[in-house]
Amino acid sequence: MTLALELQGIVKSFPGVIALNGVSLAVERGSIHALIGENGAGKSTLIKIITGVHRANEGTIKVDDRIVHFVNPRAASREGIGVVHQERNLIPRFSIAENIVLDRIAAKTFAPINYREINRLGEQWLRRLELDLDVRRPVSSLTAAQAQMVEIARALSLQSKVLVLDEPTASLTSHEAEALFRVLRQLRDQGVAILLVSHKLEEIESLCDCVTVLRDGRNATSSGPLAGYDRAALVRAMVGRDFALEQAARIGFTSTASNSVPALELDGVSTSLGHRDISLSVARGEIVGLYGLVGAGRTELAKSIIGLHPIVSGELRVHGRAVRIGDVNSAVHRYSLGYVSEDRKAEGVILMHSVLANAGITIWARLRGALRLLSDSRILSNVDPLLRRLDVKAASRHAAVRNLSGGNQQKVSIAKWLAAGVEILIIDEPSVGIDIRTKAYLHQLIMNLADQGTAILLISSDLPEMVALADRILLMKDFRLVSEIANDKDYTKISADIMSRIQAVAFD
């Protein structure tokens, strides 16, 4: 057995969290190796260590049985680690060929560029991927799938022995994904080791030879052939015991007279972002889950509901009344509708501002007095009880949110909606990058909110979380709702059900 890449005992800690705690990984030459795990399991940290973005606190990395130290991404690529990130790293106005051989352009200063040579090289690598494109086209004119292929070509042009792909199919159609898989199999047969990070178990089963499962910053399984696992076993390894904790959860939601009119209702809604014919309803006190793969259009739907993007047809009803929400301001203040963003640092909180400023932002307009005057103490008396209840740990209410842990930041992000007392709350990926304890706490909080009558639309890619919290689960794919599942909290059954339904649609 020849290992192209071997990691042993990798430990990586950030201030306040241990992201990886003794992780090992072994990728064989000429194999496609899946790296899977839930959100927050440590996959992306591990990838960043393999590609030289982060440095491990402990542990060794070996490439071709040689110990290597990556001080930066360049060092990793010199050792033969090629990577294709989830976001594109291309120069938009440059040609395909120039992007493929960008490293050569970086290496010289004044020697005039021979474009014929560059185009020849670019074509050669594209041909290896069986791609028929004019290499002189600017990459800004390519589709997402083509642009990704250009990045794979670039990684190969660096004589990569290991090719790391982070969620490569996230933004591809199933047809494009198939084409990608053909290329990956070919590369494997040529001896390249491929490390693939993915959420999609079905594509892993059809594509990969080996697998490593991470959970909570540790190996849930050591690296080994995929043949030993069926899907249920993989899911068990990913989810582990935590799920049992969560299952203690929620007593089912029952429809009563008081909630017979849905708090939020979409009827045949299409949006400018491409959603078609979306119909759903959320009653008071109900948690409706919206599950789907990355890129299915869930966050985009949430942002359309709160007025960030226009709804082009169909009807949006709040408490039975048809409404048109022009911007987030009226969503919050007229229709009592709030949105907890998945992108906490960029959209959920204002990092440089204080806890107080963040938690009170939704009620400033309501609390202001004559001449719009508004004092800190007035805001404090309104939000402090909430911050206490949420047990937000900060040096003071005036400390910048930047200095809080991820979990406490998330509590602040939710606190502002509690302060505003919204009746409808859309929660997007509430527990990404949050430690287990806070996660359990947040789940309890979401359930309590529902029990108190808030209508909750929950978006999550975390299947156990979804099963633990939601009363009903809607499946979204390609900007459409494809299915609805009544959640009876039997995880094994529901997860298999969801997977089979999403797969069924995929092969339509």
């Binding site: 991404p73 360049r74 690529s77 594109r88 790293n89 291309l90 120069i91 938009p92 106005r93 440059f94 040609s95 120039e98 960008l102 490293d103 352009i105 970086a106 290496a107 010289k108 200063t109 004044f110 020697a111 005039p112 560029i113 004019d134 002189r136 086209r137 600017p138 990459v139 800004s140 004119s141 390519l142 589709t143 997402a144 642009a147």
Partner: protein, 319 residues
């Protein structure tokens, strides 16, 4: 690069320039007199250098407010070397180019090495170079410049074609060669287009930023010296009115404000259009201060069109 795309970018500008030329020539026959064409092309020569000086900083995704100030400082130094120290034209020219490049290097190093905002750094050096200029000259012009320089400023190289076009043509060729053929030029554009991708591919972003500012300073210096040749004296106020036009031409010419893309042909056409408008106002005896109104309006229209265009999805980069 596909010819069709290139053409699309500046075709509209070319049509406007040609139309403007035809309209002026038919409405005002005096427009086509050799003297008028000579003046027009002299204006074009100077304005092109100024526009290119700003274009190279826009290429890397930054800007240079001190462009005019550097131009003024180099202009008076160039004239002062000849007037006070009696240097001849050639070494003074070399010294001027070096000073411009040095001033640009100072901007670039402060921005890249200390990671400061290009806006604030060049606003500060704008004041510093201006202060140096006035301290050197006591706000008085240097009159006694080398005869070769003053002759050059008035000379024609055949018919209405002014000699001052020579440095402009040479500088344009060099800039074009750097951006389209040399790795360092491509590196500047790569940094402007996607700085994290360029860093990952091993490009030194700092060096690219500094190089762009050095080029900007050298071009500003050259423009200052061309202005000396045209005015026949080292006027300390040279460069004071370059700010708006330096941005107008590249922006109208389709250079991306966010960096990563230059259009040399588009910028040249925009300079032509602006020069035609200025000339037109003179020929039609309109208050020349309308030029400022028109320039400001053109900038707004150009960026407005750009932001409209960016709303139309084309490839992944527009998502």
């Amino acid at each position: 690069m596909a010819k069709s795309i290139l053409r699309q970018e500046w075709l509209g500008l070319a049509v406007i320039a040609v139309l403007g030329f035809v309209v002026m020539a038919t409405l005002r026959p005096s427009f086509l007199t050799p003297f008028n064409l000579f003046v027009l092309m002299s204006t074009f020569a100077l304005a092109t250098l100024i526009a290119l000086g700003q274009m190279v900083t826009l290429a890397v995704g930054q800007l240079n407010l001190s462009l005019g100030s550097v131009g003024g400082l180099v202009a008076v130094s160039f004239a002062g070397l000849m007037d006070v120290w009696h240097w001849s034209a050639a070494p003074s020219l070399m010294a001027g180019l070096a000073l411009g490049a040095l001033a640009g290097a100072l901007n670039g190093i402060l921005i890249a090495q200390f990671e400061l905002s290009a806006f604030i750094v060049t606003l500060a050096t704008l004041a510093m170079f201006k202060g140096l200029n006035l301290a050197l000259t006591k706000a008085q012009p240097f009159y006694h410049i080398d005869r070769i320089v003053s002759a050059f400023g008035n000379a024609s190289i055949g018919g209405p074609i002014p000699a001052v076009l020579i440095p402009t043509v040479m500088a344009t060729a060099v800039v074009a060669f750097i951006f389209y053929r040399l790795p360092i030029g491509r590196q500047i554009l790569a940094v402007g287009g996607n700085s994290s991708a360029s860093e990952l591919s091993g490009i030194s972003n700092k060096r690219a930023v500094i190089t762009a500012h050095v080029m900007s300073g050298a071009l500003a210096g050259l423009a200052g010296m061309v202005a000396v040749a045209r005015l026949q004296l080292g006027q300390p106020t040279i460069g004071e009115d370059w700010l708006i036009s330096s941005f107008a031409a590249p922006v109208i010419g389709g250079v991306a404000l966010t960096g990563g893309h230059v259009s040399i042909v588009g910028t040249l056409l925009a300079v032509v259009i602006v020069a035609l408008i200025t000339q037109g106002l003179v020929l039609f005896a309109v208050d020349p201060f309308y030029v400022q109104l028109v320039l400001g309006g053109l900038i707004l229209v150009a960026v407005g069109l750009n932001s409209l265009r960016s709303l139309l999805p084309i490839g992944y980069s527009s998502l």
